[in-house]
Amino acid sequence: MTAAIIVTVLVAGGVFLILQRELLRVVLGFILLGHGVNVLIISAGGMYHRQPPLLGQQDRAAMADPLPQAFVLTAIVIAFAITVYLLALLKAGDSAGGDRP
């Protein structure tokens, strides 16, 4: 339930921003959107077991599903690389003149 609310808020905010004209806001929108989807994926592992999947330190039975966490980790870094490139595009566009995203 809370995960769904967080997803709703992050996605709505992200989408609102990606529909703006300025590329910087678009970039920020994608960041929020990405957070929303990451929450969704973690939530897909189930929200009733929440111990970190660190063996030996936690109760195995209460551990969160590690697979969505691995997915999200990968997705975050990919999105990061793309965002950096997008920011570079923003800069390249600036030096080329014009702010049409």
């Binding site: 989408v15 529909l19 939530s43 189930g46 929200m47 970190p52 980790l73």
Partner: protein
């Protein structure tokens, strides 16, 4: 085999045509004519067998998957058409050899013409529907190319011809496929042999419509007539061959071929007869309206093809045999007339009857030959045209698809024929009658006249001895109408209705000719729709409409692009919501009290980020939203993810800051928020994914896969941080791919952004590690040692000027402590990542933080600034790849773990190291390119404005 040899022979001829032209120039027409004639003779060696009812076939696999074969057949109808194609072809080749001057592209024309002959032969001998279609389209394309040999002025008419006939061609494709599906085979023989199979299918009628459409375009029936007169821009031999004798008959052939299937349906007749007769009359009227000899012939062709279409539509065996005969007759007299008009044009320099006159005195042979052919066209005895016209009349009288159809059809045909008589007379009289206007003209060389003479003579001979044709035409009719009573043609039938109608025709025709001035005046005043203009208008409208359709996509606003997938999410959600079953419950409590803390924080930060007009606020609040999400991840038991998110969030923010720093507009750019629609869209999308999260996640028991990882990770990989073992061991390929993404982006920055030093040096040389701003504080770390330590207050503090901005002293001194700490932390996290939060990504992101920090502190002159992204990315990529492949010699799959003695996982560490190098490469590239100073920084430019003596760069 025989049809295959005829087809192959003609293809061979086409292939040798360019070579022959190289050898003999325009005279290559003669060997080609001989070749075609020889093939024609060879084909007719089978005439005996075919007349006896044999069908020669040959078939090879072509596309067995689609049930399509390369099958050919030779029956009576095919032989008749093959004879026309090869016979007229031979005449036209011989004619071309004299017609073409040195400025004609003889090689191209001969090649295309012979190729066309081959395609026509293929068309009329194909025994497979698809093959028939293939040749049909080839004739279309070759026609296009042949028309275009007239040069650029032919571009428009050639294009019209192509599009109109190709439209029919595609219709034929549809028809062919439908009939094929209906019949369960594409074998023509089987299909026409079992018409009831096709007719039983609901596809039969649409297929018939498409067939008629195909035939109507190819044979220039209404409303597609206009392309044919336009095609007259081509040189005369081409007009004679393609657009009089052969290609335009392809539609007729098609209708004849499928008559056995469709004649039983009344609709067939109800469409074809009115269509054909209307075309016949309209064509004839238009012909009579023309003054250009070639244009008259073109409209005449339209008209005659209309008669043929109508006759086929009548569908009785007699009407069909009449059509068969008239096809033959028309090919003969029309080709002759075209050739002769070409000669007149060449000799007299004009084709306009108003400019020509009295040529009979200077060109008597030409005049005679023209007269013979024109009489045949006019249907005057004893020429073949007379016989075929009379039989057509008889045929029309048999039309019975509607009450009174026969007489009406016959009378309409008479009208068309009377007009034909009149324009035939106009051709002859206009060119040869009256007074001579050009006295210096002479009869053309015999060789030029010969082909026309042969054709004209044949027209006469076959009129007198039309019985010679009977066996073949009978056979052709029987092929279409199994068990039909053969119609026996003869010059003299005795006095019957047809003869009466003929006499009426002559009388009316003569009357039209007699009062030609008045008729002409009337016709010129008549409004006639210009098909070409209509076509052009439609085309222009289409292009306009297409422009409208495409314009939004030529340079769309990004929001217009992004909104569409977003808007489909709620649509999908609603549709899915309707179809979903009841929700299963949660297997355990899914909400914790602290979750609400995150909810509040996320709500506040996201709402703020969305509404703020300050760029910095938006940036900061987005970052805060990330922090709130990271907190949620901690609550969800995902410390690795939280750590990664935190690092990524900050690195992104810092890079964004570096980008923004270089902008002239800075942060004062006013927000232009499109609030209304964007907010609605955003809300819909958010609610959709939120609802999906609510409905589709967290409601099942723990997944088997996740359980497997928790149960076996330690034993299988030696690691206790299960997430990390998934990343480097269980799903190393994901991680590797992700690192490749990072590496590609790193190198992308180099492509996208020029170093400041590149601007100065104008080269892509990266060997020097200084960016332009590093000159300002190049002595950075080492500069502090000189002066200042004497304690004297008066010592001039010059070192600061050399060291760069004084205010960064704190940062620079601080970095001496912080950078090593960050680096150590980074390497520590790399080392222990397998067991606790950390690993290749997190550690390399910390390394990235170190690199970025160094950039902020030192403005680019620290040793780390001299790192190049390429070696980092390249070596990291190869390291990870080769680590993954290193196990191959052991027969293990890619990225299989390798254990050293003592259960130490070597492979995953080296693999992680490769990942580490690639991510650091990205940060180095970002610092190198994004962190570089732009040419006119905000502060510099402001200073330059206030101090005018300093010139702006």
């Amino acid at each position: 085999m025989l049809p295959l040899i005829v087809l192959g022979g003609s293809v061979l001829l086409a292939l040798t045509a360019p070579l022959l032209t190289r050898l003999f120039g325009r005279n290559a027409g003669y060997p080609l004519a001989a070749g075609l004639a020889a093939l024609g003779v060879y084909a007719n060696t089978s005439a005996g067998a075919i007349v006896d009812g044999e069908v020669l076939t040959a078939s090879y696999d072509w596309m067995p998957t689609l049930g399509v074969a390369f099958g050919v057949r030779m029956d009576g109808l095919s032989l008749l058409f093959v004879t026309i194609v090869l016979g007229v072809g031979a005449l036209v080749m011989a004619y071309s050899a004299r017609y073409m001057g040195d400025d004609y592209p003889a090689g191209t024309v001969y090649g295309l013409l012979t190729g066309f002959a081959a395609a026509m032969i293929g068309l009329v001998t194909a025994n497979d529907l698809v093959l028939l279609y293939v040749f049909w389209e080839i004739t279309t394309v070759l026609s296009f190319l042949l028309i275009n040999t007239a040069g650029p002025r032919a571009a428009l008419p050639a294009g019209r011809a192509l599009v109109v006939t190709a439209l029919g061609g595609f219709a034929l494709l549809g028809a062919v496929v439908m009939i094929g599906v209906a019949a369960g085979t594409t074998d023509l023989g089987v299909i026409v042999g079992n018409p009831e199979t096709v007719l039983a299918s609901p596809l039969a009628i649409p297929a018939a419509a498409l067939l008629i459409l195909a035939a109507a375009t190819k044979s220039a029936q209404l409303p597609f007539t206009f392309w044919l007169p336009g095609a007259m821009v081509a040189m005369t031999p081409i007009s004679a061959y393609l657009h009089a004798a052969t290609m335009v008959k392809a539609g007729i052939y098609l209708l004849m071929r499928f008559s056995p299937v469709y004649v039983p349906t009344t609709a067939w007749s109800m469409v074809l007869v009115p269509l054909g007769l209307l075309t016949a009359v309209v064509g004839a009227v238009l012909a009579l309206r023309e003054h250009d000899l070639k244009a008259i012939l073109a409209q005449s062709t339209v008209s005659q093809l209309g008669l043929l279409t109508a006759a086929i539509g009548v569908g009785t065996s007699y009407a069909l045999s009449a059509a068969v005969l008239h096809t033959f007759a028309h090919a003969l007299f029309k080709a002759t007339l075209f050739m002769l008009v070409g000669i007149i044009d060449k000799e007299a320099g004009s084709r306009d009857v108003r400019e020509l006159g009295g040529l009979r005195t200077v060109m008597p042979i030409t005049a005679t030959l023209t007269g013979i052919a024109a009489l045949s066209m006019a249907g005057v005895p004893p020429l073949i045209g007379f016989v075929s016209k009379e039989t057509l009349y008889e045929g029309f009288l048999e039309a019975d698809f509607a009450p009174g159809a026969g007489p009406i059809a016959a009378v309409t045909a008479v009208i068309a024929s009377a007009l034909t008589f009149a324009y035939s007379a106009r051709i002859v009289y206009g060119a040869f009658g009256g007074t001579l206007t050009q006295p210096d003209l002479y009869e053309p060389p015999k060789a030029f006249l010969a082909p026309a003479a042969v054709a004209a003579a044949l027209g006469l001979a076959l009129g007198l001895g039309v019985g010679v044709l009977n066996p073949l035409t009978d056979r052709a009719t029987t092929d279409l109408y199994p068990g039909a009573e053969p119609a026996t043609f003869a010059l003299w039938h005795g006095v019957n209705t047809a003869l009466v109608l003929s006499l009426v025709t002559f009388a009316a025709g003569y009357a039209l000719f007699h009062w030609r001035d008045r008729v002409d005046a009337l016709l010129q005043r008549m409004w006639v729709p210009d098909g070409s203009a209509v076509y052009d208008r439609i085309r222009a409208r289409l292009i306009e409409f297409g422009g409208l359709v495409g314009r939004p996509d030529v340079d769309p606003a990004p929001a217009a692009v992004l909104a569409r997938p977003v808007l489909l999410l709620p649509v999908l959600a609603v549709v899915a919501g309707i179809g979903l079953p009841a929700l299963p419950g949660y297997p355990g409590p899914a909400v914790q009290g602290l979750d609400w803390l995150v909810v509040v924080l996320v709500l506040a930060t996201v709402a703020g980020a969305a509404v703020t007009s300050s760029v910095l606020a938006a940036l900061a609040l987005t970052g805060f939203a990330g922090l709130a999400t990271a907190l949620w991840l901690l609550l969800a038991g995902a410390p690795d993810v939280a750590l990664t998110l935190l690092l990524v969030e900050v690195l992104t923010t810092v890079v964004a800051v570096l980008v923004l720093r270089g902008r002239r507009e800075g942060l004062q750019r006013p927000a232009r928020l499109r609030a209304g629609p964007a907010a609605l869209t955003a809300l819909a999308a958010g609610l959709s994914l939120g609802a999906a999260t609510f409905v589709l996640t967290g409601r099942r028991p723990p997944s088997e896969v996740g359980g497997y990882f928790l149960d076996t990770a330690q034993e299988a990989t030696g690691g206790t941080n299960v997430v990390n073992t998934i990343l480097v061991d269980f799903r190393g390929m994901d991680t590797f791919g992700e690192a490749v993404v990072v590496g590609a982006a790193a190198l992308g920055l180099l492509v996208l952004l020029r170093r400041t030093s590149d601007d100065d040096r104008g080269s892509a040389d990266h060997s020097a590690g200084h960016s332009a701003d590093s000159s300002a504080d190049s002595s950075g770390d080492s500069g502090g040692s000189s002066g200042g330590d004497t304690g004297g207050d008066a010592a001039p503090p010059r070192l600061f000027a050399r060291d760069g901005p004084a205010d960064t002293i704190v940062m620079r001194v601080g970095s001496r402590v912080l950078f090593p700490v960050m680096l150590a932390l980074s390497l520590f996290l790399l080392w222990r990542g397998h067991d606790e939060p950390g690993g290749g990504f997190i550690s390399s992101l910390v390394g990235g933080v170190a690199v970025l920090f160094l950039r902020l502190a030192h403005r680019g002159d620290a040793w780390a600034m001299r790192l190049r992204p390429e070696p980092l990315v390249g070596s990291g990529l190869l390291l990870s790849l080769l680590t993954g492949l290193a196990v191959y010699p052991l027969g293990l799959p890619f990225l299989a773990p390798v254990y050293l003695p003592g259960e130490v996982l070597l492979s995953s560490f080296v693999f992680d190291l490769g990942i580490y190098l690639m991510v650091v490469g990205l940060m180095v590239a970002a610092v190198d390119r994004i962190g570089g100073r732009t040419r006119v920084g905000p502060v510099l430019s402001r200073r330059h404005r206030t101090t005018p003596e300093v010139t702006d760069r």
